[in-house]
Homo-oligomer: 401 residues x 2
Amino acid sequence: MDLNLIQQLVQPAETKIVLLVMDGLGGLPQEPGGFTELEAANTPNLDALASQGICGLQMPVGPGITPGSGPGHLALFGYDPLKYQVGRGVLSALGIDFDLTRQDIAARGNFCTVDENGVITDRRAGRISTEANIQLCQELSQIDLPHVELFVLPVKEHRFLFVLRGEGLSPEITDTDPLDVGKKPLPPRPLSPQATQTAELVEQFVAEAHNILQDHHPANMVLLRGLAQLPDWPNMRTAYGLNAAAIAAYPMYRGVARLLGMHILGTADDMGSELDVLASHWGEFDFFFVHAKHSDSAGEDGDFDRKVQAIEEVDRQVPRMMDLKPDVVVITGDHSTPARLKYHSWHPVPVILWSEYCRPDQVTVFGERACMAGGLGPRLAAVDLMPLALANARRLGKFGA
Amino acid sequence: MDLNLIQQLVQPAETKIVLLVMDGLGGLPQEPGGFTELEAANTPNLDALASQGICGLQMPVGPGITPGSGPGHLALFGYDPLKYQVGRGVLSALGIDFDLTRQDIAARGNFCTVDENGVITDRRAGRISTEANIQLCQELSQIDLPHVELFVLPVKEHRFLFVLRGEGLSPEITDTDPLDVGKKPLPPRPLSPQATQTAELVEQFVAEAHNILQDHHPANMVLLRGLAQLPDWPNMRTAYGLNAAAIAAYPMYRGVARLLGMHILGTADDMGSELDVLASHWGEFDFFFVHAKHSDSAGEDGDFDRKVQAIEEVDRQVPRMMDLKPDVVVITGDHSTPARLKYHSWHPVPVILWSEYCRPDQVTVFGERACMAGGLGPRLAAVDLMPLALANARRLGKFGA
């Protein structure tokens, strides 16, 4: 449903919603006739919720489309990812708690390695340590650019955040990252006349950075991509009337959450710690986004068994979540990451919607094949989950007389 | 999904897709409790693919909408038939290998029979022989129209192609075919001011044709409909990066295929010959559209048993197709043609999507009722099949970071 319509129907309620995102949840059988990761996992608690709730498979973006994590999450939050598109630079900034202003343009930066001819030999500079990264960012921060303020901030390993702050800056500039080794970094090109000055500033930064870094092999050059500006979107309070909070270990997910006005509750990494955070802030918010990352990392590593374990780790914490007496629980993923593909995939993602008021279906286990027969259907649009959660939380009024 | 989005995500791959269209595949039970044609057919090979793949029912245009063959096929090729509309005139031209230019307007022509008052008594002139048609078209080609070139070309039986070529022609003219007997042919009316001159030319052609044909009973008049111009659409290469080929016996289907830039591989009629063509060109293309016509003709004739046989004829060739080692196979129809209705119908069409990477469902036979429980759901939009096929062929990249 359209966000504007939902916004018009929102009504206050004293109810609490938990959205538990198991990153990369959906999977594939390793061999014909086999189980998927979720089907193979021993998940008595998730199965109980599936029995009581309504299940299905959801598509974050659309049929055949493999979602990035940003679009995958925006869809779960009810923001159409085809309409609400955000550059990587903004996500990087939000993910390290950098307070972006409307005067800023931000890019995702990589330290990389170039050879004596300037050709990229490693786009990630051998994944240098975060400590080395911090050091280099301090040096690059000294670069002096005319009329603008410069921020170069470490993210993790080889990744940093690049921000220019000033009047009249434009993000309409091409990436310097060619996304491939064996090529030279690309010059930043303005995509509109207003971006000419900004492109010159970026070019000057890259040149001076190259100078400063030349003796810092393997991190002897920088790559910039996803230059972007803070978007002007409705947040979760204006869209849904929700006081929302996020519990997520990885910067990227906190970034998306902050973009929608969620409060960030720390950086707990494992499910147990995340549940501690959830319990200790339970009284303060009415929407909680809880992000479990390990299912995705295991899938990306092609480690079927570790993905199974990551799912089981979440399952063990489900009773603690239910003990908090949430009114509505949605459990799903932001996309599939089958261990067999070692990558995000286009396959729809299993979902449970649990509440006192949902209409149960006949699904009794949480798994891909079981969910195909669920009441939410095998191809639910992910953006439809938030309206359903709000309705089940009695937070949406009637449409029309 | 929007074609533009797909176009942005397309990435190269060394994979092959086969789209096997069994025309008019979907059916109905002849009597309550009975089987449909597909359910009645003995299809061990299709059933095996259904077991390994993911199944469902697809809607070519939308709920309740009975598709023509053009829209039905465009949807299967991923082109929204509500957005990509093409006149019958253009399809007729493409179907007889007529090389339409952007200067042309084309109409589908029928020879018909009129009585002494000019009232139509047979819209198809008793389905005159193609030989008689060829003769008459030669005579009509002699008509001299000011400032334009005229083409009158035989198609089959009573059908011909009418083309005007010249500067400033417009297809915005009403049909002369009233689509009913007991009425007179209609005068061509311009639907916009730019079409006035063209309408006059068409009127002059019809008058002179009537003159020439008056002694050629039953083919003593002409009817024109579907006046249209070549549309400017992305082809399969620009949209999907596919080098595509079509194997189809009937002009209409080759016409649609040519419109999307597919290479036309001959005019083999039965499934066995079509598979010969497929095998002999296997190395040259990465997308093959294979059209099986007989299921539809049998359905249109109301011949349940012959439709069953047509389906079984296709089933017998499936192993030969699979021996070629395609990466992705889609098997479906362009619409339903239940023998019981003797006509195209609005019922969703069974579909199998088979690939190494599809997520199997619990469907083990290929039939309407079985497919309702499939992972593609009972109401998949047909236009979503191409993105799914491309994704399974690893030809679509990730959306967003």
